[in-house]
Symmetry: C2
Subunit: 778 residues, 2 copies
């Protein structure tokens, strides 16, 4: 039975807190004289003062109290830092626990190490100012605010004994993603998942403003938290010893409550406890600077004393501030934390800064994978029969779910079934721990499918799940995946940075399946038509990003298998959910996907150098390109046509730009050095130009794609609106191949007529001409 | 005093609701036989059934009840449709009110008109399935869910007599932006703003899932709404007459409460009423189809009867369903709504479908603009003195605020002061209607500066404000503006579509000022470094988007003035907030901005054809380019250098691609047809390639920009990390200009040495060498 905190306990705990605060201030300010054993001089102070003090003492306070609880209860705990700009605090705590010196051996637990620790912070060649991948114990940078709580939930899914303490800053709490994240508790299974303990830290201010949640009455705030399904506990104060007492007692209560729920989860969703901690911003820092109040105001947000290098008064104030922590009581002659304080930190992997879940790659186990070839569809002839690619992939995914029920989940904004992965429901349910009524379809607390109408939450849960060493797949409408553009940026930055951190192990890839894509928004129209996520992803570091456009079912299976096995990438797969033509047998599909791009000889009419190359990427553009190839074969049999299909978009880049990039020679071998290339692309056409601008034949490359024209209409009308249809592709060939001679004008007119006829049919009948929609190669 | 609803009132109201439901079903299903005056045959039914029934009866119910309230109270009301996919409902109501026929004169209020109304819905060449720009009365498409409430608030700011009824779907309520939007009430001034009446419509289901808010206990939901600062009122039922009674009474109560608050706002933030309406999904539709329950389940989401064209049973069920509304009682022989129902609709601009606020361009008044030239900074010589561009712009913006206190607001996520626009606080405050305490800085209910730590809310408020005919400016960190990528997509689609709708008047531009940009994240590092918003914006329709990179203070003033005066664009301005060199006098700046791109002759050393062009766009790249030009002048005086600065990025595109695009001749005149061009760019380098790939000299274009390398470091270290520094630019020139001969190797080595020395200095001192950071042209 954990013991309540005695006055002695709390005095020690306060000393530990002072040590963390001291180290935090030291990082922000000092180049040298780390223990202030000589008077502070200008040259001891950094010339550029960069960092955030305001949130740091609160982060340190919670860290110290959690340490006590971890030791008393042998908790397996993670610390998720919403206000990630409070980097000095988390670095200080990792250093106090020894884990910092374990991974950065040059920074030992002595005066030299402390000097180095201080100097490196926010310093050129040193470490970032935020909680970052470089910070042991972190899965969360917190620079872009809003994702702390959703990351914490992602971390505890399928980790039944893990407790994620999640500090939510009151600034961050104003963001949309955070405001929605509170509802994550309806998706948590008390039996098979761990627990998130949110601490809403009201220090009252953002950069220049008070925060909303700090300026509504306590009863309104308590009501909000109850509405979110939590039992709130308030800890309020600005006098350290009183706050220590109250926080220790509250943490005891709250952890007892959590333990009781875990011991007997019952059948109803528990009202998990959460803590509202209201303490001053920049607590224990300068109360006033240059006549203005700082502690307890927004002025404490970054660096409270800005002139310490040049202003002796500020410097004296800094010195006094740092001495107020009484470093001489905290660190021994060598600069090492004194033993009675060191004893307050948990040991080994119980230290939050050394919890293996925060370095998920170390816990990562391969997925048990079924053989994707077993799900192949029969393809007797290319472009003769149809199959719904994602539905077949769904069967494969179903079996991945079934074989990995401790480490794989599906995520999607209410679209897993809509995107045709519903086979998953043969073996699992949707995670759901809210009310269930008669007629509900596959809802259960232990479900492996995470569906909420928030791309932010899907993305954030998945990120947290991946960062703690598991696997997943996110299915979404193509247009709305832009909702998480900025979250993707931050995850990509995390992946890029960790590549350069030897002690961080690679994690599983973040896999997107974008179905319900731009070309098939029959129900929804223009607002649902946007293929720009590809452009966005490709801006990220080449080492990290991969984009696949499998044209049919077997290629999708091959790509899907590859992505689920891969590590440390962001994989984007675009594949339609509607029945569509199949082209390749499984063996052909595997070979095609390994090459990433290739000539489809059956679709062209030459084995030699062609007169024109028809290139395509994406299921709908592939269909239109093949139909155009057939039209050309019929109408201009003398024209030598080559068809090239691209699955792996990154192949188009030069090898110098992307690991998958093609050499100049390979590119020219496929696309010719000098012949016209008509490229039908799934997305915005200029993306292809961007990838190929340095290729020698680039001036002959003519790209068709989505040019932001659309509405609720038929599939063929959509491609016509964007000049991506088969008839227009033939017209593009005519316009680019002078050799066609006098035939050209006649054929061009015929294509114009065909477009008009198709449009007329559609306008009249409300559906596409079956001769077009039912097109096959034969 | 409004009268309570009598049974007769409600019977009529029910009839009106039935009429709207009838027209909604008709739109989804029928090609012909609109009034079912003959038996329903297959050819009367659309071959492709596309639309969303589930949410529609609830939308229609609220519309009918609002009509009663509007007439009783002479309300000036707007209807914001969160579940925008319920398009048939809003079209139906606009048609019933006559406003549909007013703007689409071919669709009269008769049988022919009704036939056309039905046929056009979700039909090729017709109208979209959603509430769209084409829908009279709408400011909100709702395809991408989450923005209804924030749009509604944007609409009522500075419209004190406007009431926005905002229907929030329970699916949408799960999104982050919506979850945060509830707190908008802390930013509303009951005296100078209008009122938002949120109706949370719990129909219980999304596409395939129940919704979270429908599956938490009522007391938890009520607690949540109280926590959000509202007084909730529940209306629950599935029996129409009982729900009519309850909803009418509740709406009376709620509108009385609103009137009382408006009459006496008091000094405390009011707990504005809101309504929770719990009615079945697909209410009044088929109860069961093919043995499965449909009404009241997720199966009612889209088209409940899918086989009506081919399946006689389904068709009979559709016929029965439509007859259940008793169209013969609702429409006269000509197909016109019977007079006693027509009398239920408000008249003229009181009709929600004809409220002028929903066609904001019609209400738009020009801003009263100060003369931006009066704010010019003195520039005696180029690149000799410094100025903080956004701080000077702030003075201009301050005076725009002061002169337009009924139609202009600033929006930003707690960064207006951080981005140096704090001069605004000389004339106004931050909007704030939560608790105020001693020491608070410029907080007041009537403030014109909207700050909340949510880019989503800033964007959404501003969109709502613009769409209802006002003006604004959004300032943000460059990296985090990606948070609203998807919202920008939707706004751009709205703008693009309205260009083609004659009755929609152009609105004021959506203006972004991105300060705190990628190159100056001294405090925050890698997570704050992302210039990709430009790439994202440029994917939108060329008619809509403009991107400006003013290099100094006077150019920023000129660009800022231009953007605030413009109409119907999305303008993105990137400008640093730190003191930086000034280059152009105001007259020069105006001329340069009008051209958008130009040769800076003072910075080059030739008036003829140069050996090399140094091009630049953005403040930091301009600085490095000029420093490189000076280095070249010193070290290779014989090399003829031209410096070209780009302010208006769209100028680089061909004239065929963008209205601002340059002709080939103009481009070649600036960038030469055949000389090397070293282009220093603010953002990702491939964006310049994308804009210029078709230019004849493109193969000579060598672009430096941000290549996703960064951390917390000094400004010059940042440009070095990305090879954008002056020394590297000189090296790029050396590598591209063979004419330099034997000099080249020596100079190249010198540049390498200079880079190393700069890096060493920075690593040692923690700041940039003053010779570099203090560089001037002289």
């Amino acid at each position: 039975m954990p013991q309540p905190a005695t006055a002695d306990d709390l005095a020690l705990l306060d000393a530990y807190w002072r040590a963390a605060n001291y180290l935090s201030v030291g990082q922000i300010y000092l180049l040298d004289n780390p223990l202030l054993r000589e008077p502070l001089r200008a040259e001891h102070v950094k010339p550029r003062l960069l960092g955030h003090w305001g949130t740091t003492p609160g982060l340190n306070l919670l860290y110290a109290h959690m340490n006590r609880a971890i030791r008393q209860r042998d908790l397996n705990a993670l610390y998720v830092t919403g206000p990630g700009h409070g980097g000095p605090g988390l670095v200080a705590n990792a250093y106090l626990e020894g884990s910092y010196s374990e991974v950065y051996s040059s920074l030992g637990e002595d005066v030299d190490g402390m000097r180095g620790l201080f100097r490196q912070f926010s310093f050129p060649g040193g470490i970032p100012s935020h909680v970052a991948p470089e910070t042991p114990g972190s899965i969360h940078e917190g620079g872009e605010l809003g994702y702390a709580l959703v990351h914490a939930y992602g971390a505890v899914f399928d980790n039944p004994d893990l407790l994620a303490l999640c500090v939510v800053g009151d600034g961050e709490a104003e963001t949309g993603p955070l405001a929605a994240s509170w509802h994550s508790n309806k998706f948590l299974d008390p039996r098979r998942d761990g627990v998130v303990l949110p601490v809403l830290h009201l220090n009252g201010y953002k950069i220049a403003n008070p925060t909303v949640l700090a300026r509504i009455p306590d009863d309104e705030l308590a009501s909000l938290m109850r509405g979110y399904g939590h039992t709130p506990h308030f800890v309020v104060g600005d006098e350290p010893s009183a706050v220590h007492q109250e926080l220790a007692a509250t943490l005891d209560t709250v952890l007892d409550d959590i333990a009781a729920i875990k011991a007997d989860p019952g059948s109803k969703r528990p009202a998990w406890p959460m803590i509202v901690l209201r303490t001053p911003k920049g607590w224990t820092g300068p109360k006033e600077v240059d006549g203005k109040q700082v502690e307890g105001t927004f002025r404490a947000h970054q660096v409270p004393l800005a002139g310490t290098r040049t202003d002796a008064g500020h410097r004296a104030q800094l010195e006094e501030w740092m001495h107020s922590y009484r470093p001489e009581e905290l660190f021994d002659a060598d600069g090492r934390l004194v033993p009675e304080l060191r004893a307050l930190a948990p040991e080994g992997t119980r230290r939050m800064s050394a919890n293996p879940h925060a370095n998920g790659g170390r816990l990562l186990r391969d997925l048990a994978m079924p053989d994707f070839r077993n799900y192949a569809v029969e393809v007797e002839k290319p472009a003769a029969s149809t199959s719904a690619a994602t539905a077949v992939l769904g069967e494969f995914v179903r079996d991945v779910v079934a074989r990995n029920d401790d480490r794989f989940r599906l995520f999607g904004p209410d679209e897993v079934a809509s995107n045709r992965l519903q086979a998953a429901f043969e073996v699992t349910d949707r995670a759901w721990n809210a009310t269930v009524i008669d007629g509900d379809d596959h809802l259960a607390p232990g479900g492996r499918v995470m569906e909420i109408l928030s791309e932010h939450l899907c993305q954030g849960w998945l990120e947290g799940y991946l960062l703690t060493g598991r696997h997943g797949l996110f299915t979404s409408y193509e247009a709305f995946i832009h909702i998480v553009d900025s979250m993707l940026n931050q995850h990509a930055k995390w992946l890029k940075t960790t590549l350069g951190i030897p002690w961080r192990a690679p994690i599983a890839s973040l896999n997107y399946l974008l179905s319900s894509h731009v070309w098939r928004q029959d129900h929804n129209g223009f607002s649902h038509q946007d293929p720009g996520f590809l452009d966005h992803v490709i801006n990220k570091k080449a080492e990290i990003v991969r984009v696949y456009l499998p044209p049919d079912t077997n290629t999708l299976l091959s790509v899907g298998d590859h992505c689920l096995r891969s590590r440390h990438y962001i994989n984007v797969i675009v594949a339609g959910k509607q029945p569509q033509l199949t082209y390749l047998t499984m063996d052909q599909a595997i070979a095609h996907c390994i090459r990433g791009v290739g000539i489809w000889e059956w679709a062209g009419n030459t084995e030699g150098e062609p007169d024109v190359v028809l290139a395509c990427a994406g299921d709908i553009p592939t269909l239109e390109t093949l139909a155009a190839a057939k039209l050309l074969r019929e109408h201009c049999p003398e024209l030598e046509v080559r068809v090239v299909n691209v699955v792996d978009l990154m192949r188009l880049q030069p090898a110098s730009e992307h690991p998958h990039g093609m050499s100049e020679r390979d590119f020219d071998a496929l696309f010719t050095p000098d012949k016209p290339v008509i490229f039908a692309f799934h997305g915005y056409p200029w993306l292809i130009h961007r990838l190929t601008y340095s290729r020698s034949n680039h001036h002959n490359l003519h790209v068709r794609g989505y040019k932001e024209e659309g509405t609720t209409t038929t599939p063929f009308d959509m491609v016509m609106l964007n000049d991506l249809d088969r008839f227009h592709l033939v017209m593009d060939v005519i316009d680019r191949v002078p050799a066609l001679g006098s035939n050209a004008a006649v054929l061009r007119q015929r294509m114009e007529d065909a477009r008009l006829a198709a449009r007329r049919y559609t306008r009249e009948h409300g559906e596409d001409d079956p001769a077009i929609s039912g097109w096959t190669w034969e």
